[in-house]
């Protein structure tokens, strides 16, 4: 099954909400951009029924180039984690379609 993309979401808004194609595309773009912007500004994102995007700070740690075996430090960094909400977890948990 092909992945769900921004183009599919825009097509849905065009078909089902009656937005014009440009508006539909802009809303989908803005949806993801506003989430990125909030996270970039260190703001947690809480989408009830779906899940939360949290920020975590990781300390620097020693790493290694897997090809050469050479030691290279991994710098301290901020990462995004997604915690699915109860409702989303409950809806996907029983997936039994195989694959």
């Amino acid at each position: 099954m092909a992945a769900l993309t921004k183009a599919d979401l825009a097509e849905m808004l065009y078909q089902e909400l009656g937005l014009n194609k440009r508006e539909a595309k802009e809303i989908v773009e803005a949806f993801f951009e506003e989430i990125r912007r909030a996270l970039e500004n260190d703001e947690q994102v809480k989408l009830s029924g779906f899940g939360n995007f949290d920020l975590r700070e990781k300390r620097s740690r020693p790493g290694r180039n897997p090809k050469t075996g050479e030691e290279i430090p991994i710098s301290a960094r901020r990462v995004v984690t997604f915690r699915p909400g109860q409702k989303l977890k409950a809806r996907v948990e029983s997936y039994a379609g195989g694959e």
């Binding site: 769900l4 993309t5 993801f32 996270l39 970039e40 809480k46 989408l47 009830s48 996907v92 948990e93």
Partner: protein, 98 residues
């Protein structure tokens, strides 16, 4: 930022659209993304990230109240992998080492 704040922020940029259309759009997007995961369809948003299901095998757990052993069946859980643009933007400001 909550879902209603997200709706407000998008509505502010889309002044030609009634706020209720923006609200309906945000809810439809989230519902469509949920439906994708419910049928194990991958979600791939370039520059943002991808969502997939990961399988967790069956295990024996305990009822925290009674201490009784309970067999927990395997299940699927949603997983998000941030895309390159999101990773870089979130990490753009230096992280304080303590």
């Amino acid at each position: 930022m909550t879902k209603s704040e997200l709706i407000e922020r998008i509505a502010r940029q889309q002044e030609q659209l009634p706020a209720r259309d923006v609200e309906a759009a945000v809810k439809m997007i989230l519902e469509r993304m949920t439906q994708a995961l419910v049928r194990n369809q991958r979600i791939e948003i370039r520059g943002f990230g991808s969502f997939t299901l990961h399988y967790r095998g069956p295990r024996v757990g305990r009822n925290p109240k009674t201490g009784e052993r309970v067999e927990l069946p395997g299940k699927y859980v949603p997983h998000f992998k941030p895309g390159k643009d999101l990773r870089e933007r979130v990490n753009a400001r230096p992280v304080r080492e303590d």
